[in-house]
């Protein structure tokens, strides 16, 4: 079975933020729980754009808080 969106998102976050796989849950806050600063978030957004071929506008990016938000946005905009 193909990797789910969540797994692909998780992989990018684990690599980029150097956090444990277990910590990356759908409810985890990218900033508060995973320790991303605002630049990390921008950087992650750019990587998701490349990985999934979606464009995430600045206004949308500002609304993203949890890993689940990212997964939902990507799945709704693929």
């Amino acid at each position: 079975m193909a990797e789910t969106t969540f797994e692909r998102v998780k992989g990018i976050i684990v690599e980029h933020l150097d956090v444990d796989k277990e910590a990356v849950t759908l409810d985890a806050s990218v900033k508060d729980d995973l320790g991303a600063d605002s630049l990390d978030v921008v950087d992650l957004i750019l990587q998701f754009e490349d990985e999934f071929g979606v464009e995430i506008a600045d206004e949308e990016a500002e609304k993203i808080s949890t890993v689940g938000d990212i997964v939902n946005y990507i799945e709704n905009n693929l």
């Binding site: 630049l39 921008v42 950087d43 750019l46 490349d50």
Partner: protein, 247 residues
């Protein structure tokens, strides 16, 4: 030195910008120039870029207009696939004593000389962050450090560029992007040719190296800052002024 790099030079049709564009092409970069309106000058510069054997492109862009700026950078990326070097050089003057500067003269200078740098920098930061590398070089002026009679608007914009340079350098450093400012002193160009003789003589008396600079003097520094050799320099303002200003 700059093999396979792609550079964008704003205000690239004439003066210092033209010199920078041709110099970068000589160093091996493909060069895109943005020009405001002088198509003939832009075509001459483009021809000189192409004579070096590099690819060139000239785009008519008002750098103070975000839509035009974004469309132009989109075209650059779709044509060349990447952007490695941005030289924010476009600038205008509307010199007058503060008491006589019209609101419109103020706005035009700030819009082109400062807002234009912001818009172009914002537009390249995304592709440069993805590339994990980039060089942004902002052309300021020693007047941005010292102020100058009759140049309240111009010096304010040029000083603004220095703050913008330092902030952007901090934000983008971890992504392998360096941002520096170059502050030319008295450089012989169309912009300075129009100054009165007495102003020029008075300026010359204050320059320790006792000559005016050339556009090439500035272009050589820009070429260095654009190269891999300058990878540990960021957030700096480097003067090319013959010793005019000791800051």
């Amino acid at each position: 030195m700059l093999k396979e790099k792609v550079a964008v030079v704003t205000g690239g049709s004439r003066g210092i910008g033209r010199s920078i564009a041709i110099n970068l092409a000589h160093a091996g970069a493909d060069v895109v120039i943005f020009y405001a309106g002088n198509q003939q000058a832009a075509e001459e510069t483009l021809q000189q870029i192409q004579e070096t054997g590099q690819k060139g492109l000239a785009l008519k862009v008002d750098v103070s207009d975000s839509e035009q700026v974004n469309a132009a950078f989109k075209e650059v990326v779709s044509t060349f696939g990447r952007i490695d070097i941005l030289v924010n050089n476009a600038g205008i003057t509307r010199d007058n004593l503060l008491i006589r500067i019209k609101e419109d003269d103020w706005d035009q200078v700030i819009d082109t000389n400062l807002k234009g740098v912001f818009l172009c920098t914002k537009a390249v930061s995304r592709p440069m962050m993805k590339q994990r590398s980039g060089r942004i070089i902002n052309i300021s002026s020693v007047v941005g450090l010292t102020g100058g009679v009759g140049q309240a608007n111009y010096s304010a914009a040029k000083a603004g560029i220095l703050g913008l340079t330092k902030s952007t350098a901090k934000e983008l450093a971890s992504r392998g992007i360096t941002v520096n400012a170059v502050a030319p002193g008295f450089i012989v160009t169309d912009m300075t040719d129009v100054l009165p003789e007495e102003v020029k003589k008075e300026a010359l008396d204050r320059i320790p190296l006792n000559r005016f600079g050339s556009a090439e003097d500035v272009a050589e520094l820009v070429k260095f800052l654009a190269s891999d050799a300058a990878s540990y320099i960021t957030g700096q303002t480097i003067q090319v002024d013959g010793g005019l200003v000791n800051s």
